[in-house]
Amino acid sequence: MCKTIQSPIAGHIAGQSDVRDKILKDMDRRSFISFCTKMAATLGLSAAWIPKIAEAVETGVRKPSVIWLHFQECTGDSEAFIRSEYPTAEELILNLISVDYHETIMAASGYQAEAALEQAMEENRGKYIVVIEGAIPSKVTAGPKGVKGGYCMIAGKTALEIATDVCKDAMAVLTVGTCSSYGGVQAQYPNPTGAGGAEESGVVPPSVPLVKIPGCPHNVVNSVATIVNFLLLGSLPKTDKVGRPVFAYGKRIHDNCPRRAHFDAGQFVEEFGDQGAKEKWCLYKVGCKGPQTYHNCAWVEYNQNTSWPIKGGHGCIGCSEPEFWENMQPFYERLPKVSLPGVEATADQIGITLVGAATLGATAHAIYTYASRNKFNDTSGE
């Protein structure tokens, strides 16, 4: 199994490509196998695929050029990205992929940076991967000289123009984070800038495949696994109904939750800080959205497998779901509130009102029937 792994690492056979030397320079064999195994596990592949992953990563023949675009966002996804451990961020950025344009981490600035973008597009036309971070506004700005999408401009160009230009010649588009995938918090009501995800903004042509890696921030394991999937097979992973890779977003958090046993046992945290919380019981009653959220947090935790919200004692807020800022509110209750004209109430309040009104009506009708019993059954009609 380890033949393809051992030969370049242990043997230092001469004549291998620079790419492979670079990627393996600072990585010992154990870490490398660890990385490959983890990628196989994340992608849902069997152990038989580990040598193939190793081979694909070693040879790096398809080392793709990556253009990373920032729009309306908090750079949280770049923060997550540069905290990758297997492989480390520098291996990832320099060797596994070729990040040719990334506004936050690139050395160049100003015209030089713009030139780098144009050069990368020119050299790899039709062959580069675009990673989009942040929502794209498409509303016309206020005032007489309204600009469409003018709420986010970089170097005199709107986000809409930049994204459309860059995406039209891309081989594939990866949207990392919930903002670029579904619009995020800035796209929620009343959405003053007309923000939306890459797909809603229409910047990605239908011919270019799009994979969404939502999350707030996204888990870097998932974006790296998507890239490894690409290196391995030359194609992007299959996606679910809202464009997320099935290997990472195919199952609900609740169904793999480490606290699930407490759910089945009926042991719930009643309020934060109580004995149940100390016992690490289920957070269902304090508004955990794990039962409604498709993500793989439960088995690939954040920050190099350190932790994730439910492990830390806070319920899931459903950050990988479309429009979660609206749909998953309130975060500390199980069900969303129901807005009726002039009223905002919980589902239970409305339901109890309905059933209570029916009961009262029935009682009133019964009393009315009893009071009019003498007139009743006067079948003559008149």
Partner: protein
């Protein structure tokens, strides 16, 4: 039904004194299905409430020592299956059963809507309706249609919560598209929860109406849902608004029979 003095007038209609007629309105199997559904909906409501708002459990033992929520869910899913099965079989019977080729009476057709409005008017002014219905009356039919719709919503949303489909199979795609149509799992859950209250509303109205009718009218459905038979006075028999009767029996109550039954009766309320 085989009493010494009881005479079979025709298939499913019996009399013993020529004043009261006992008419079969549904098969005993349909009666059993109704009560299976009733018990299932009751149990689904109770367990559903327990799942939505689990009771506090301060049992500081290891999680494996208790399985209360798991059991509640098991009961919920079991009764959901039972309810679904009973609805599917009843739906089948509505097209095929000897006494229940009655799908039309459950659909909100114009005649059923007009009939329901007439009934509501009579119920409010506390008069006995002029038309008598051997089978489900139009208001009841629309009620059944409402509960069937609510149960359909409950089934789809319940299955989406139970079996979230992410597989690229026909089954998975169906659920995926349903879920996309309804929103995320959170919306599905909200719809499931709200529809439960609609069902509760229906149950309150349905149960009250049945008791009320039973205490005030002779042709109550209370006996028919338990035994399958319903009592009519002779003049009511002559005044059947039995638009589905011919679907049930090879021959509807014949003109001769009705004339014979009502020849020495005063003019019925519906005859003028």
């Amino acid at each position: 039904m085989e009493s010494a003095t009881r005479i079979k007038v025709q298939e499913g209609v019996y009399t013993d004194n020529n004043t009261y007629f006992l008419c079969q309105t549904r098969s005993s199997f349909a009666c059993i299905l109704h009560w299976i559904l009733a018990i299932s909906v009751l149990m689904l409501g109770i367990t559903g409430f327990m799942i939505a708002n689990p009771p506090s459990n301060f049992n500081y033992t290891e999680a494996y020592q208790t399985y209360i929520m798991g059991k509640t869910r098991l009961i919920h899913f079991s009764f959901a299956g039972l309810a679904l099965a009973s609805v599917i079989i009843r739906f089948y019977l509505a097209f095929t059963s000897l006494c229940s080729k009655d799908i039309m009476q459950f659909l909100p057709t114009p005649s059923n809507v007009i009939g329901s409005m007439k009934l509501v008017q009579k119920y409010i002014v506390l008069k006995e309706p002029e038309d008598h219905y051997r089978f489900v009356n139009p208001l009841g039919g629309i009620g059944v249609f409402s509960i069937a719709t609510a149960l359909l919503i409950m089934t789809v949303t319940g299955m989406l919560l139970y079996l979230p489909g992410a597989d690229h199979t026909i089954w998975g795609n169906f659920w995926n598209h349903s879920e996309t149509f309804l929103g995320s799992q959170q919306q599905v859950r909200l719809i499931h929860h709200m529809t439960m209250y609609l069902l509760g509303l229906f149950v309150v109205i349905h149960v009250y109406m049945q008791f009320w009718k039973n205490t005030n009218y002779l042709d109550s459905d209370m006996s028919s849902i338990i035994g399958g038979y319903k009592l009519f006075r002779k003049e009511e028999l002559g005044n059947f608004n039995d638009q589905y009767g011919e679907r049930v029996n090879e021959a509807a109550p014949s003109e001769e029979l009705i004339n014979e039954c009502s020849k020495d009766m005063p003019e019925g309320p519906g005859n003028h």
